[in-house]
Symmetry: C3
Subunit: 415 residues, 3 copies
C-alpha cells in the first residue's frame, strides 16, 4: 500500500492567514490609536515586567506544555504561538468595540494588550483539549470563535450582572474548558478509543513540557494580579496565588503517588495539576484574604484536579467518546468551578445580612450559568463548523505527528 500523505494545507492555511492578517491591518489602520495622552508614567513601568511575564506564559509556556508528545513538538509550540498571536489581535479589536461604538476609535494601551492576551489564553486552554487531533486551520478557527464567545460572555456579565472585569475575565478557565470539552464531543475520532499511535512522550519531550510547566507555575501570580490596580491588594493576590500554587504542586505530587499502584509519580498528572490552585484562586481572589484560605483552596483544587485527571479522563473517553488530550476539564474546568464555589461561600460568610448574601448568590450563580451555556453553545457551533471537510483534517494516522505539517529534517535546511 502506498504511504498516505496528510492533505496539503497550501490552499487553506496560507490564504486564511494572509486574509486575516491583512484584514487586521486594515481595521487597525482605521480604528486603532495609541493611548499616549492619559499615560500614567509610573503605571507603565510597573505594568511592563508583569506584562512580559504574561507574554512568557501565553506565547511560550502553553506551547511548551503542549510539546509533550514525542512527535508533536514543533506543532505543539509553533501552532500555540501562531494561535496566540491571532487571538490577541482579534481580542484587541473585539474588546474595543464598545469604545469604537461610542467614540469611533479604539484607544489601546499596555493594559488593553494584557486584557487581550488573557482573552487569548482562554482560547489556548480550549486548544489543550484538541492538541494533536487538529490542523492549524482548525486551531485558528477555534481561537477566533472562542475569543468571540468569551468577549461576548464578558460583555453579558458586565452589562447584565455588573460583574467586574477582574472577576469576569477569570471565567476564562471555565469558559475555555467547557468550550474545549464540547469540541472533543463533536469532533470525536474513532481511533481515540484505542490509544493514538503517536500519543506518547519520551524523556526529552517530557522535559520541554516541564519547562513550560515551571514557567507557567512561576508566572501565575503575575497572571492573576496583573489587572489588580491597588498595590496593597496586589501583594495579597500575589501572595495568595503563590501559596495556593505551592500547595497545589505538593498535593498533586502526593495524590499522584498515592493513586499509582506502583507508587510512582505520573509526569503529566503532576505537570497539569500543579496549576489547580492558581486557577481556583483566579476565580476567588477578590474574597480570599487570608493565606490559609488560599492554601486550603489550592489543596482541594489539586486533589480534585489530580483525581479527575487519573480517573475522569478515561471515563469521559469511554462513556462519552470525549478524548480530551490535556484533560482541560480536570485541569481548568473543575478547579475553576471550585474557585467559583469558594468565592460564593466566602462572600456569603462575609455578608452582614441575609438579603445581600442571597442577592450575591443569585448573581453569582447566574454568571456561572451564562458562562457555561454560552461556552457550550459556542463550542457546538465551532465543532459543527470544523466538521466540514473543507478544512482538510489530517487522517487518524497523522494525529500527533509533526510530519503532517512541517517540512522535515534532512533537506529542510538547504532550500
Amino acid at each position: 500500500m502506498a504511504p498516505q500523505y496528510a492533505p496539503s494545507l497550501r490552499s487553506r492555511l496560507g490564504p486564511i492567514l494572509l486574509f486575516l492578517q491583512i484584514g487586521f491591518i486594515v481595521i487597525f489602520a482605521f480604528y486603532i490609536e495609541i493611548d499616549n495622552e492619559q499615560i500614567d508614567k509610573n503605571k507603565f513601568s510597573n505594568l511592563y515586567p508583569e506584562f512580559q511575564d504574561v507574554n512568557v506564559m501565553v506565547f511560550l509556556s502553553f506551547g511548551f506544555l503542549y510539546s509533550f508528545f514525542v512527535r508533536y513538538g514543533f506543532s505543539g509550540s509553533g501552532f500555540n504561538f501562531l494561535v496566540a498571536i491571532m487571538a490577541t489581535q482579534w481580542a484587541i479589536l473585539l474588546n474595543g468595540i464598545e469604545s469604537w461604538y461610542s467614540r469611533g476609535k479604539i484607544r489601546v494601551n499596555l493594559r488593553s494588550l494584557v486584557v487581550a492576551e488573557l482573552c487569548a489564553s482562554s482560547a489556548l486552554i480550549s486548544i489543550g483539549a484538541m492538541v494533536g487531533k487538529t490542523n492549524p486551520v482548525h486551531l485558528i478557527l477555534i481561537a477566533l470563535l472562542e475569543v468571540s464567545g468569551f468577549v461576548l460572555n464578558q460583555w453579558l456579565l458586565q452589562t447584565l450582572l455588573k460583574v467586574q472585569l477582574l472577576n469576569s475575565i477569570m471565567m476564562l478557565h471555565i469558559f475555555g474548558s467547557f468550550f474545549g470539552l464540547m469540541l472533543t464531543l463533536i469532533l470525536h475520532r474513532t481511533e481515540s478509543e484505542q490509544q493514538f499511535e503517536k500519543e506518547k512522550f519520551d524523556r526529552k519531550t517530557g522535559l520541554f513540557s516541564m519547562l513550560g510547566t515551571l514557567l507557567l507555575w512561576m508566572f501565575w501570580p503575575s497572571f492573576n494580579s496583573i489587572l489588580v490596580d491597588d498595590r496593597g491588594r496586589k501583594l495579597g493576590v500575589v501572595f495568595c496565588t503563590y501559596l495556593a500554587l505551592a500547595v497545589s504542586a505538593v498535593t498533586a505530587a502526593a495524590v499522584s503517588v498515592l493513586s499509582s499502584p506502583k507508587g510512582k509519580l505520573n509526569l503529566i498528572h503532576v505537570q497539569s495539576c500543579v496549576f489547580a490552585g492558581g486557577v481556583a484562586i483566579g476565580l476567588s481572589m477578590s474574597v480570599v484574604h487570608e493565606p490559609w484560605q488560599a492554601m486550603t483552596i489550592g489543596f482541594t483544587a489539586a486533589v480534585v484536579s489530580t483525581i479527575g485527571f487519573r480517573y475522569l479522563k478515561i471515563h469521559m473517553l469511554l462513556a462519552f467518546h470525549s478524548h480530551d488530550t490535556f484533560a482541560v476539564l480536570s485541569t481548568h474546568g473543575l478547579p475553576g468551578l471550585l474557585g467559583w464555589l469558594a468565592h460564593l461561600l466566602l462572600q456569603i460568610k462575609d455578608s452582614d445580612d441575609h438579603t445581600t448574601a442571597i442577592r450575591f448568590a443569585v448573581f453569582h450563580i447566574c454568571s456561572l450559568l451564562i458562562t457555561i451555556s454560552l461556552s457550550l453553545s459556542m463550542g457546538i457551533i465551532t465543532g459543527l463548523l470544523l466538521k466540514w471537510n473543507f478544512w482538510r483534517p489530517q487522517q487518524d494516522k497523522k494525529c500527533f505527528d509533526d510530519q503532517a505539517f512541517w517540512e522535515f529534517p534532512q533537506n529542510a535546511v538547504r532550500k
Copy 2:
C-alpha cells in the same frame, strides 16, 4: 534473574507530603498574616521583577542544571521543584519564629518570601551533592533539616556576632556545600567508586542543563542584589556581580581548555564554574566597590573552582569516599570561602586603625567557624537519619534513573 524494581514510595512519599502540607496549612492558618499596612508602594513594584528572577533561579534553573544526566531529567527538575516549595514554606515559618515569639503572629510580605527562597536555595545547593543517589523522601528531609540548620545559623550569627542579614544570608553557599559534603561522606555507596552506570549525559540533556546554567548566570545579579535596599548601592552590587560572573565564565572556559589533554572544553566544568564569581561576590559584596576588585575575585574564584572540579572531585572520591555529584565543594564551597577571605582582606585594608581591623577579623573568623561547624554537625545528623532503611533508598542500579520514581512512557498518557 528477575528484574529488580526500585522500592515503591507509595507508603512513604505520599503520606509525608500530605502530612507536611496539611501541617503547614494549619500553622499558616493560626500564625501567618499578610503585611498589607506597612507596604511601601514603590518598593513592591521595584522588588517584584527581581523576585521573579529569583523564582526562576530557585524553581527552574537549579532543576534544569540538575537535569544533566541522561536518564534523570524528570527527577532532576521535578524533585528540585518539589523540594524548593517545601523548603520555602518551611523557611517562611522558621524565619518568623522571632516575630511570632514577640507578637504572636508572623507578618509576611514580598521580602519575607524572598528571604525564604534564599534559605531554600541553600538546601538546593546541598542537594547538588546528592543528585541521583537519593529518593524524593530523602530530598525533602534533607531540605527541611538543612533549612532548619541554616536559619539557626543565621540567628546565631545575628544574635551573637551582630552580623547583618545581608552578610549572614550569603553564607548559604558555604553552609549548603559543607552540609552536602557531609552527606556524601555518610551516605557513601560503594558503587560510586566505579562510575554509576547511568551517570552520564548526552547532547540533549547537556542542553537542558545549559539552559539552567544560563538562566542562573543571568539572574545572579538579582540574587545578590535583591535584599540591598539602597538604590545606589544596588547598582554597585549588580554591576560587580555582573562583571565577576563575566570574568568567571571566560576564565572557567580557559582553564577547562588548558587543563584538558586534548584541548577541549568540558561541558560540566564550564557549566558549574561560571557561577564562581557570583558566589564569591555574594560573600564579599558589602566591601567590594571597584569593578576591578570584583573582576579579580571572579577570576580567582573561577580558577579555584575549575581546577577543584577537575582534580579535587576525583581525589575526594578516592581518598574520602565522597561522591559529590555536582562538586558543590568546588562550585559553591571554595568560591564561598574565597569570597569570605576577600571580604576579610578588603575590610582590613579599609580599616583606619588596627583595633577595628583585628576586631573585625575575629568576628569574621568566628562567623565562619560557627557556620562550618553547624553545617557539618547538621550534615552528620541528617546523614545518620537518612541511613535508616525506612526511607526506602533505591538500589545502586537504580541510581540516576527516572524509572525508579516515574510512571514511564508508553502507557502513562492514557489513564
Copy 3:
C-alpha cells in the same frame, strides 16, 4: 584510514581567553568607575527589568537559536555565551573612549551595560552567518573586530552626521549582517556547495531553537525600547514593535506554507523570519507613530525575509559561494534595509518643506552608505585575518560538530 581529529585548541583558545580577560581586568582597574552619584533612583528600577530581558536575548536566546543543528548544540549555545561576554566587555571599553579622553575615567552605569550589550548583539548577528564553520578562537576575533567596527561606525555617524544614538545603534542589524556576509564570501569552504554532512536538525534541536526564537520574539519590544527615555514614546515603541512582530510571525508562516510545494511549514524559515518586523521597526521607530504603519512594515519585512530565506540563500551560495548559515542577509540585512527605507519615506512624508526633506534624505542615505562600506571593509579585514591557519580551523568534516571542541559524554563526568 585513521580517524582525523580536529586540531587541539589548547594552545590557542586558553591563552587568548586568559590574555584578553586579564587585559580587560587591568584596563578596568585603571579607567572604569561606577557612576553612583548621578543615579536617578527611579530610572534604575525602571531599567532593570528591561535590562534582564535584553540579557536573556543576548546571552541565551541567540545561543539557543544557534543550537539548531543536531550535533552542534553545546557549541551553538556555549560559544554564543562566551562571545557575548567578551564582546560586551570590549564594547564597554570602546564606548567609553570618548569620556576617557575628556575626563581620564570611564563612568559606567546600567545604561552603559545596555548599550554595550546592544553592540555585542551586532557581533552575534554576524556570527549567525558563520555558525558551524568556525572555531571559538575565530568567533572571539570576529566579535572583537566587529564590535570595534560597529563602535567606530556609531562614532562616525554621530560625529559627522549628528545621528542620534537611538538611530545609530539600530544600524546594528545592517552592520552585523553585511559584516557576516563578507566573512562568508572570504572564508568559503568548498564542501558547503554540497550540504555539510552534519548541517541538519532533529525534533529536539528544533525545539531548543524554538525556545530561543520565542524568547527573542517576546523580548524584542524591550530590545527596541530600552534606550527610549520618554515614557510616553516608550509605550509607542513597545506597542509598534509588538504589532510588527505579531504580523511578521503570521506572515512568515503564511509565506512559508505558500512557497512550499507540499504546503508545509519550514521550521527554520519561520523561526528566522518572525523577527523581521522587529528588525525593521528598530530602524524606523523614531518616525513610526501609528499601529498600522508598524504592521505594514512588519508585513513587508516578513514577506521579503521569508522569500529571501527560501530563494536567495541558495542563490547566494551557488552564484557567490556565500554559505550564510542562518541567512543573516535575509533575516537581518533585508528587513534592516526595509526599515531604513521606511524611516526615509515616513520622514519625507512628514516634512513640511522640500528643503528639510531633501537634507534629511541626503543625511539618511549617507549614514547607510557609511555603515555598509565600513561594515564590508571591516568584514574583509576580519575575513583575511581569519584565513590564517594559525587559528587552527577545523576540517570540513568537523563542521557543525561539537566533538571538535567538547570533551565527550561517557567519561566526561568523572575526571
